[in-house]
């Protein structure tokens, strides 16, 4: 049975929520169990804190330091190179799906695009942009 939106809105609230009672019980149990486990580890777990464990986790950096720190430009390089090929994948999906209707011209257009990207890739490779040291 399907309801139109106007019918749905005019239904009494009580009848609508009753169907979710099982889910409510499920959520309450899940919340209770996870709370119990967290508290258990707080209560019984061994605590040997050190500076590294207490600091906020951040990939590769000191969490708190001067904002004007020297920053290795290679991070940017890798990020930019990653973005290019990530976007290429995003571009390949719609092309693959619609390949049937765009025909040979669409197929070769994409090959041309991939070839162009390939030339860029060969260039960055030979230039040594992919080597960390």
């Amino acid at each position: 049975m399907t309801l139109s939106s106007s019918q749905f809105m005019s239904m009494p609230l009580k009848g609508n929520l009753e169907e979710y009672f099982n889910i409510f019980i499920f959520m309450a149990v899940a919340f209770g169990i996870s709370l119990f486990l967290v508290l258990l580890s707080f209560w019984r777990g061994p605590k040997r804190p050190d500076a590294e464990k207490l600091s906020a986790y951040e990939c590769g950096f000191e969490a708190f330091s001067d904002a004007r720190l020297k920053f290795d430009v290679r991070f940017y390089l890798v990020a930019i190179l990653f973005i290019i090929f990530d976007l290429e994948i995003a571009f390949l999906f719609p092309w693959a799906v619609s390949l049937k209707s765009i025909g040979l011209f669409g197929f070769f257009s994409m090959l041309l695009f991939l070839g162009t990207l390939g030339i860029g890739f060969v260039y960055e490779w030979r230039k040594g942009a992919l080597e960390w040291e």
Partner: protein
């Protein structure tokens, strides 16, 4: 199945040739890994021949007096685009020709430079040939991204990286303006195609245009005013001109300005022509302030490239005066001005690139030219011609360019603007003539600075281009017909 569909690829043959050449240069360059100057120079020659072959392909495959559309209305070529592409290709080729020796001297010549010049040229060709806001965006971005890298070529120099950063940040902002304007236009009309938009705006009743249309117009105008460096979007120009290496400045001053101006002209006259009453006062504002600021701000400059930057702002103001007129005569005047401007600016930079100081610097300050007329009479004579022409002294080319512009403005009824322009050109004449005065009447310094123009590097290509530019500027009034004819045909695209 749309398998049978294949666009007319001969339309993009020049662009294709340039892209293939650029890729060829990139791949051979990166695999040879040579720092040998002769090898680098060979890359320059390959780039130069690529540009010339592309020019040949353009001329050979052109369909005169026809609206040649391909790629489902994304790209077109008519006589207007044809003229623009000829100017861009020959301008880029000339800049490569005059810059190779100087780039080599400054240890800046690399295969990347050649590839980037070619790719920037491809971007400009696509910009001028665009018939759709999306293909225009693509061309604009290919061109600007290549230019950002070119400006940053001397990246370990503070002034160069500052210029590059300024150019990049402001350029990205202008691109955002463009995109915002284009998306508003799509929201208004449901199309990104110029012709479709022109038709839809024409159907709208006059005086009842929605706000989104105005916003779109203003955003797009702002972004292209940035590209042609019209006041109040000119702030980047002096810094970028000064900061980038002189050969790169020559490139930025010449062809991208031409491409952006042509696109501005097409946008105003095709999709936005119905809104003439609305944009005319805005363009008049841009024009007036560019002319006045270009004249006054350059007066106190001591750096030659900064001076040329303000001069470019002023010259763009004169061209915009022709756009304001909006008549067939005005379009012709703008195109004549653009052609002669390209010739004059390439000639000026060729002169500056010839002269080198002892410290392997190019000339930087106006004083570096003091008394060089006795050392290098030919080069200083050529530079004097270009300065007189830029100032608009008869009977040189620059005078006629201004004459056509003022005539068009007067016959369209813009008396105040034309008078302001004439007065501004009188003020501007001061600094152009000052350069001539420094060259001919000042004494050479006893102890020349490191950048004092002494050693002349005048290879054959440079001499050829310099002479050609000087001859066109000198003899335009004797043989104006070749330029006038092609310009008339180009302007007929809009009126016919």
């Amino acid at each position: 199945m749309g398998g049978a569909y294949l666009p007319d690829l001969t339309l993009v043959l020049p662009e294709g040739i340039l892209v293939v050449t650029a890729f060829l240069i990139l791949m051979t360059g990166v695999f040879r890994k040579s720092t040998n100057p002769q090898v680098q120079q060979r890359f320059g020659h390959v780039a130069l021949s690529g540009l010339i072959v592309a020019l040949g392909a353009l001329i050979f495959y052109h369909h005169p007096a026809e609206r040649w559309i391909s790629f489902e209305g994304q790209l077109l070529q008519d006589d207007f685009v044809y003229l623009g592409k000829i100017l861009i290709l020959s301008g880029s080729a000339a800049v490569v020709g005059i810059s190779l020796a100087s780039m080599l001297k400054e240890h800046l010549l690399s295969f990347e430079y050649c590839a980037l010049i070619l790719l920037a040229t491809v971007g400009m060709l696509l910009m001028v040939g665009a018939n759709d806001f999306l293909s225009l965006f693509m061309g604009l971005e290919i061109q600007s991204l290549s230019l950002y890298v070119l400006v940053a070529l001397k990246r370990d120099q503070t002034i160069a990286s500052e210029a590059a950063l300024k150019y990049f940040v402001l350029g990205a902002l202008a691109t955002c303006f463009y995109l915002y304007g284009a998306s508003l236009m799509y929201g208004f009309s449901g199309s990104t195609n110029f012709e479709a938009i022109a038709t839809i705006i024409r159907m709208e009743s006059a005086g009842n245009f929605p706000l989104s249309l105005f916003m779109s117009l203003i955003f797009i105008m702002a972004s292209f005013s940035f590209k042609i460096s019209a006041v109040p979007f000119h702030m980047w120009t002096p810094d970028v001109y000064q900061g980038s290496p002189t050969p790169i400045t020559a490139f930025i001053a010449a062809t991208p300005k031409i491409a952006a101006m042509l696109v501005f002209l097409r946008l105003m006259l095709e999709p936005f022509m119905t809104l003439y009453d609305e944009w005319q006062s805005l363009v008049a504002f841009l024009s007036l302030f560019s002319m006045v600021l270009g004249a006054f701000a350059a007066l106190r400059q001591t750096d030659l490239k900064r001076l040329l930057a303000y001069s470019a702002i002023g010259q763009m103001g004169y061209m915009l005066l022709g756009v304001v007129a909006g008549t067939d005569e005005g379009i012709q005047a703008v195109l004549i001005y653009l052609t002669l401007y390209l010739v004059m600016i390439i000639g000026t930079f060729a002169c500056l690139l010839c002269l080198r100081g002892k410290g392997s610097y190019g000339v930087q300050n106006i004083e570096d030219l003091a008394g060089i007329s006795t050392l290098h009479p030919k080069v200083s004579f050529a530079l004097a011609i270009f300065m007189f022409s830029l100032a608009g002294i008869p009977p040189l080319g620059g005078f006629f360019a201004k004459l056509y512009i003022f005539k068009a403005a007067l016959s369209a009824g813009f008396f105040g603007l034309a008078i302001a322009g004439a007065l501004a050109s009188v003020v501007a004449a001061y600094y152009y003539l000052k350069i001539v005065k420094v060259m001919y009447f000042d004494d050479a310094p006893k102890v020349p600075s490191a950048s004092y123009g002494q050693i002349v590097v005048l290879p054959l290509k440079m001499a050829l281009i310099l002479n050609a530019c000087a001859l066109v500027t000198l003899l335009f009034f004797v043989f104006p017909n070749p330029i006038l004819e092609i310009v008339q045909r180009a302007a007929f695209t809009f009126s016919g």
